[in-house]
Subunit: 187 residues, 2 copies
DNA sequence: GTCTATAGAAGGATAGAC
DNA sequence: GTCTATCCTTCTATAGAC
């Protein structure tokens, strides 16, 4: 196996999805224009409507689903590599804090931003965000054996993202992680 | 004192501020157009730029400050009417859940939505949201006597708003409130 | 499937009469 | 301070050549 001199070309459709996800988490749904998307994805404008005939809404829905699955896998991997649940919860929060700091507080989960924007304005996208959160909740409930705690931990994580991005400081994420870990330890 | 037949006229400037706050929490910053603002405020378009020469950014900054002060007063009032801190924390979350349900999950705090949208795109507005969160944190730290807990409680509250609005269900808010109350009770 | 051009509406902002 | 008209840009979306 040699390093490929000309890397396998990423399909246009995927380039558009990744570029949109990237822009959504920095600018949100309304703040991201489709012309900006195709420029970032280095794709012609017509390709967007070829691959996503439903336009911005269909593209947004797929991005929400893709990002939701991606972050679930990320978190699940951490839960699986740690032995103890309290430790794994803490690790999720500290990793999030590290990522925020390393990326200039830009590389945050795109779901929350879009979820708040569309909750009262676009029923189809609202449902898509609801499904993602429900999947996260179910996965964590299984691991913690308690649905109420799972909901609280996810809420703390998402809320901490908001506070950290606004203040450009990881303190809220670490504080929320400490609380979440303690909560999980309790009987 | 008789009921006033012709109610005291609300100044144009304030009507614009209230209308903007209302639209921000439903549609966010990018999703709200200035033409829509003046239509909702029943004000002529020129008045907006007369009262807010800095345009959308200046208007947004004032709305963030106004909404921040309003919600701080709301929460502070609850903390003052209850005797015990754990009970007051729980009351804040249950009241939030009631309000969400009563308003069709629309009447949520506008700060988070705007905060996530502008965190990486508008430094002036980002700072405005950071100041609001810092004020909330300071006020709650004073009452709980612990900054780390205060941050975690606020994160849980904001994150629960996201989950509730997405799922159109108050369960996350009640679960987060339960956890926050327990956290406050701990030594 | 790729790409260009453009339609038609809405965006923020400004000028200037009143 | 109030209000109308308008400028220029950007938006989503479509048509149609290649």
């Amino acid at each position: 196996m040699t390093a490929s001199p000309s890397p396998a070309k990423v399909p246009t459709r995927e380039r558009i999805l990744y570029a949109t996800a990237e822009l959504f988490r920095r600018q949100g749904y309304s703040g991201t224009g489709l012309k900006q998307v195709v420029a970032e994805a280095d794709a012609p404008f017509g390709s967007l409507y070829h691959h996503f005939p439903g336009g911005k809404q269909e593209l947004g829905e797929e991005v929400i689903q893709m990002a939701g699955a991606f972050f679930q896998a990320l978190v699940t991997a951490i839960y699986d590599e740690e032995q103890e649940t309290a430790a794994s919860v803490r690790t999720v929060f500290t990793r999030a804090a590290e990522t925020l700091e390393a990326t200039g507080y830009e590389d945050a989960c795109p779901i929350s931003t879009v979820a708040l924007e569309v909750a009262s304005t676009d029923e189809r996208l609202r449902r898509a965000t609801a499904v993602v959160f429900a999947q996260w909740t179910d996965a964590l409930t299984e691991r913690l054996g308690n649905r109420e705690k799972a909901l609280a931990v996810i809420a703390a994580l998402e809320g901490a993202f908001v506070l950290c991005r606004a203040s450009r400081n990881t303190e809220p994420m670490l504080a929320a992680g400490e609380m979440a870990a303690r909560l999980v330890t309790e009987t």
